[in-house]
C-alpha cells in the first residue's frame, strides 16, 4: 500500500494530469505537491528575480501559489481521503525532485512540461527523474 506520493508540478496541463492520476490511483495516500520555482530560462529572469527579492521565501511562495491553488482545486474535485501537502524548492527541477524523492514511495510526473525552449534549458525532467530516481516513478501521459 503506497502511502507517501510525491507529485512535482510546474503549472502545465500535463502536470495536472499527473496529480489527477495520483489522486485516483492512491486515494488514501499522503500526496505532496512539489513546485520548483526560479528554474533556468532563456534570460535567467525568474532565477535572478527570486535571488534579488527582499524575502526569498515570500517571493518563492508567491511564484508557486497559483500552482498550489490549482492543485487544491483538483484535490477538492477528486474528493477522497488523500491529504495534500505543498512544498516548493528553488532552482533546477530535476535536482529538487531527486533530493526529495527518497522520502517518498512513489513519484508521479507528467511526461513533459512546458514549451520547446523550456526543454532546451531544463531538459526533459521526467526522463531524467526516471533514470536517476531512487524510488519507482510513474510517468503520466
Amino acid at each position: 500500500m503506497i502511502s507517501r506520493v510525491l507529485v512535482p508540478m510546474d503549472g502545465s496541463e500535463m502536470s495536472e494530469h499527473a496529480l489527477e492520476y495520483a489522486l485516483e490511483a492512491y486515494p488514501d495516500a499522503d500526496i505532496t505537491v512539489l513546485c520548483v520555482v526560479g528554474e533556468p530560462s532563456s534570460m535567467w529572469g525568474s532565477a535572478t528575480g527570486l535571488a534579488l527579492a527582499d524575502d526569498l521565501e515570500v517571493a518563492a511562495q508567491e511564484h508557486a501559489q497559483s500552482t498550489f491553488d490549482r492543485a487544491r482545486e483538483l484535490a477538492a474535485d477528486a474528493d477522497d481521503d488523500a491529504t495534500l501537502e505543498t512544498v516548493f524548492e528553488l532552482g533546477h527541477p530535476v535536482r529538487a525532485i531527486l533530493d526529495r524523492a527518497d522520502d517518498y514511495e512513489t513519484v508521479v510526473v507528467g511526461s513533459h512540461g512546458g514549451s520547446l525552449s523550456d526543454r532546451l534549458f531544463v531538459g526533459n525532467v521526467a526522463e531524467k527523474v526516471v533514470r536517476r530516481s531512487p524510488v519507482p516513478v510513474v510517468v503520466v501521459r
Binding site: 534570460m43 529572469g45 521565501e57 512544498v87 528553488l90 535536482r95
Partner: protein
C-alpha cells in the same frame, strides 16, 4: 541581373533587421513598458531614432570590421546575399525555438565560413574578436556579481521606481504661460525615476543600433553594392519596422524575462550591457547585446544569492528559518516531527538558483550557434564554389 541579386539582398537585409528590431526593442523597452511608464508605440519610435544614431556613429566601426576586416577580399554581392541568408536562418531558429542566438556572432560566423572556404580568413582579426567574446561574458558576470553582492541592497533601499495613478505630468494653467507640473499622485522621485528609465532605454537602443545595424547590411556594403549611409538607413527602417510590429510580442516574451527581475535591477543590467556593447562596438568588435545582458543578469542574481552573511543577516536568518518551516509545510497535516526533519536539512538556499551546470549548458549555446553558422556557410560556399 545585378539589380535582382541586390533586391534579394535588400529583402534579406530587411528580414534580418526586422527580426533584430523585434528582439532588441523587447530588451531595451520591455522593462519600461512592463512597468507602465511608456506606451509600446512610444517605445518603438524612440527605438528607431536611437538605433539610427547608434548605427550612424559607433556602428560604422563595426561595419568596417564586418565588411572589410574579417576576410581579406571583399564580399561579393552574391556571397553577401548568401551570408545574409545564414544570418536570417540563425534568427529564424532563435525565434522558432525561443533561444537567444546572438546575431552578431552568427554574422561573424557566416562571414568567417566564407573566409575559410575561399582561404581568405583574416586569422588575426578573428582571434581578436573571439577573445573579446570570451572576455565580455566574464566581464558582465563580474560587474553583475559585484553590484548584486555589495551595491544592490543599498540601492534598493534608496530607489523605488513605480508608476502612480494618473498622468505623469500635468499643465499648470494658472500662470500667464501654461507650465508643466507634476501630475496628480506623481512624486518628484517618480518623475526622476521615469526619466532615468527613459534615458537608459534610449542608451540601450543606441547600443543596439551600434552593434546590430551592421549585422543587417554589412554583407552588402562590402562589395560596394550599397553605400554605407544608404545601408544604415535601410537597416534602421527595417529595425524600426520590427519595433513597431513584432516587438509588441517580444516586449511580452523577452521583456517578461526582464520584468521578472525588479525594475531597478533591470536598469542596472541595461546600463551595464549597453556600456559594454557600445564600448566594444566603438573599437569595432561585433558583440551581442543579449550576451552582455544575460551575463549581467546571472551575475546580479548569483552575486546576491551568494553574498556574505553579515551578523545582522545571520540573526534575521533565524527568523527566516522559522518562516521557511511554515511556508514549506503550508496546509500540512503531517506530524510535527516530520516538519522538523524537513526543516533541518531543507532550508531554502538561494545558491540553488544558479546551478553551474545549467549555466555552462546555457553558455554552450553561444558556442554552438556561431560554430554552426561557420560550418554551414563553409559547407555552402565550398559546395557552390562562390568566391
Amino acid at each position: 541581373m545585378v539589380e535582382t541579386v541586390l533586391l534579394v539582398g535588400v529583402v534579406a537585409s530587411v528580414f534580418v533587421g526586422f527580426n533584430i528590431g523585434g528582439s532588441s526593442t523587447g530588451i531595451a523597452w520591455g522593462p519600461a513598458v512592463g512597468a507602465g511608464l511608456l506606451r509600446k508605440v512610444t517605445a518603438a519610435a524612440l527605438m528607431t531614432v536611437f538605433v539610427f544614431l547608434g548605427g550612424w556613429t559607433v556602428g560604422r566601426n563595426v561595419m568596417d570590421t564586418l565588411s572589410g576586416d574579417i576576410i581579406s577580399i571583399e564580399i561579393s554581392l552574391a556571397a553577401g546575399v548568401a551570408v545574409l541568408f545564414f544570418i536570417g536562418l540563425g534568427i529564424l531558429i532563435a525565434n522558432v525555438f525561443g533561444v537567444p542566438v546572438p546575431t552578431s556572432m552568427t554574422t561573424v560566423g557566416a562571414i568567417a565560413g566564407l573566409g575559410l572556404a575561399t582561404g581568405t580568413l583574416n586569422y588575426e582579426t578573428i582571434t581578436w574578436i573571439i577573445s573579446w567574446w570570451v572576455v565580455t561574458p566574464v566581464l558582465g558576470l563580474w560587474i553583475g556579481a559585484t553590484v548584486g553582492r555589495y551595491i544592490y541592497p543599498e540601492l534598493n533601499r534608496r530607489f523605488e521606481i513605480r508608476a502612480s495613478e494618473g498622468p505623469l505630468l500635468a499643465l499648470d494653467r494658472n500662470g500667464s504661460l501654461p507650465t508643466p507640473t507634476l501630475g496628480p499622485n506623481t512624486t518628484t522621485q517618480e518623475l526622476a525615476g521615469t526619466i532615468v528609465v527613459f534615458v537608459i532605454g534610449c542608451y540601450m537602443a543606441f547600443s543596439a543600433g551600434a552593434s546590430n545595424v551592421p549585422n543587417a547590411v554589412a554583407p552588402l556594403v562590402s562589395s560596394g553594392a550599397l553605400e554605407v549611409d544608404t545601408a544604415i538607413v535601410i537597416a534602421t527602417v527595417a529595425i524600426g519596422l520590427g519595433g513597431f510590429t513584432i516587438a509588441r510580442r517580444t516586449m511580452e516574451s523577452v521583456g517578461s524575462e526582464l520584468s521578472d527581475i525588479p525594475l531597478l535591477a533591470a536598469l542596472i543590467v541595461m546600463l551595464t550591457a549597453s556600456t559594454i556593447t557600445t564600448a566594444l562596438s566603438w573599437i569595432g568588435i561585433p558583440i551581442s547585446l543579449v550576451m552582455a545582458s544575460v551575463m549581467t543578469i546571472v551575475g546580479l542574481g548569483w552575486g546576491r544569492a551568494t553574498r556574505p552573511i553579515t551578523a545582522r543577516e545571520a540573526i534575521r536568518g533565524d527568523t527566516d528559518a522559522e518562516l521557511a518551516m511554515g511556508a514549506l509545510t503550508a496546509e500540512s497535516d503531517a506530524p510535527i516531527t516530520k516538519i522538523g526533519e524537513a526543516e533541518s536539512e531543507e532550508a531554502l538556499d538561494a545558491g540553488d538558483l544558479f546551478n553551474p551546470r545549467a549555466i555552462v549548458k546555457y553558455v554552450s549555446m553561444w558556442i554552438i550557434g556561431p560554430a554552426m553558422s561557420t560550418l554551414l556557410a563553409y559547407g555552402f560556399f565550398v559546395a557552390v564554389g562562390i568566391s
